[in-house]
Symmetry: C2
Subunit: 332 residues, 2 copies
């Protein structure tokens, strides 16, 4: 009897900075043909869709070659996109990082590739990815936090992705930690994202530099503070720069405050943090855990591991595959 | 054939200020013999247990008389107590409002009345009560907020009370809305409870009075600011006192900030607020909803009703009955 053919699912992780696309066999055992391109949202939505579609085609070709797959072996495409979104209609409702409003992303992709497409929030996907194959494997209640251009989040409850009543659940970046604090792109004041997203980290470093001349950061950006990014800050902290270390410690405090809120609200067994900020390592995680311990109830702290993601850049792709599987095949 | 005998469940709502006890027939159709006494926690745990047990006995006697019930018709007692608690062991882990630590409340009551006893968080009970028989009836995802001596909360997800990984879920009063803000009894800074609990409302009014002499509140407490309570503030606001109105508006803003966090995190279809603060009515709810609208994502706001509880003081008792039913009989 012939061995049943392996079936593949494609995952798309659309972020404000990069698009990452890859494929997995249905059982999630391997990541295949993962590739990435800058999103360049400033050119409008259609060119972004073009880039997604051509990455999908490349991934399909790759898997056809590497695994001897045929076109009919591809079950479809799971897409993770910045939210809030309307899963039912496949529409991105508001995505400040992309400058999109009410964009029918699912059908825009489907029209071009003619495979079933599902849409879910990018941070939901990253969370499910870490739960399915990463650092939160086998956990029951999980909060995922994705830190990049923005801060997103996802919630797994009793092993099920929780979407809430209108697909907005998990928008952790836009919870207030300081009601009269920093202005956030979403229009409010004091959102976690306004303190701890990549651009917010760079902005806080820049403000500190404008006050205090003594830092390796000046030299690292050749005196042009416009070039400062969160990555530069981690790099300087790694080299022991005092100002950069302070920015990282403050980031840990802000994140710790937001995460303590999640512990007291949701009491998860794992909080998994993904995105570039995790590159700061223990320098970030140690003061972060200390702040959570300070602010959250003892039994909530005792029940919870706070860990960096294990999938290193592909959590969103893996999770997009998992959410496709859950929506179309009913199980992960 | 004889009609099957009605069976009864007793509900106990133990708060920092009052103990409320009542009974319901198993189907939750009526509240019977509800009575209340001050908690007086300053005398220690044992006298509080005495008061609970004697209220239970009174309620049993009342139902025996009013409904012709017999002792064997009582299935047991559901208890709602301030948390965090350990449901498995029936222990109140920490209750700052009672001054308790690791107190085995469930067994202390069981030892005295010899009926099955279940323990759940008081705010969980109030939420389930409003979901079962009150303002959140038929909702799918519900956040309940109980405002009294402290601020508690409960979460219903897909029609099930959500406890989290160690029974701490829903501790909404101890989520931070201002990370460098007011000191909270829990030891942290900027908790919602430090701004909008009954005592916090009284404190903010007092601070305003100490700055500003013109208010009816002075006269209402006969110049003794120690007598000021949240109830006095609502009363003065009701009479149109400008300072009291400002305190109520600020309360609405603080609560709105905390509730917006819950909308962006949990995206519920109902937020139900119970406790004395709801007496301030639209004067509180209108600016509160406006603040939530300002801070939460549009689709989360659109999906959610924010309403006062409908059970007026007995949500905790009704919910304690419901949680007993769920834990012991497997259904509500």
């Amino acid at each position: 009897m012939a061995k049943p053919r392996t079936r593949y699912i494609i995952g798309v992780d659309l972020g404000g900075t990069n698009i990452v696309v890859g494929a997995m066999p249905e059982d999630g055992s391997r990541e295949l043909g993962v590739r990435s391109e800058p999103t360049r949202p400033e050119g409008g939505a259609e060119p972004v869709v073009d880039r997604i579609v051509s990455l999908i085609s490349e991934v399909i070709s790759h898997v056809e070659k590497s695994d001897g797959a045929e076109r009919q072996d591809f079950l479809g495409v799971g897409v993770g996109a910045p939210g809030p979104l309307d899963r039912e209609r496949g529409v991105v409702v508001v995505a400040p990082n992309l400058g999109w409003r009410d964009f029918p992303l699912r059908d825009a992709i489907f029209d071009r590739i003619n495979l079933p497409v599902t849409l879910d929030n990018d941070a939901n996907c990253a969370t499910v990815g870490e739960w399915w194959r990463g650092a939160a494997r086998n956990a029951r209640n999980v909060v995922g936090i994705t830190i990049g251009t923005g801060i997103g989040g996802g919630i797994v409850i009793d092993g099920q992705l929780y979407h809430g009543s209108s697909d907005v659940a998990g928008e952790i970046g836009h919870t207030t930690i300081d009601s009269t604090g920093r202005y956030c792109r979403c229009g409010n004041y004091g959102c976690l994202e306004a303190y701890a997203s990549g651009p917010a980290i760079a902005l806080r470093a820049r403000e500190a530099l404008e006050r205090d001349e003594v830092s390796a950061l000046h030299k690292m950006v050749k005196g042009n503070l416009d070039l400062l990014t969160a990555a530069t800050v981690y790099e300087a902290a790694h080299r022991g720069d005092a100002l950069a270390l302070e920015v990282v410690r403050d980031t840990a405090k802000f994140l710790g405050t937001g995460i303590a809120n999640l512990l007291n609200t949701l009491n998860p067994d794992v909080v998994v943090i993904t995105g570039g900020v995790t590159r700061a390592g223990d320098r970030l995680f140690e003061p972060l855990r200390a702040e959570v311990k300070r602010r959250a109830f003892r039994p909530a702290v005792a029940a919870c591991r706070i860990v960096p993601g294990a999938l290193d850049g592909t959590a969103g792709v893996v999770g997009a595959v998992a959410t496709f599987k859950q929506q179309k095949l009913g199980t992960v």
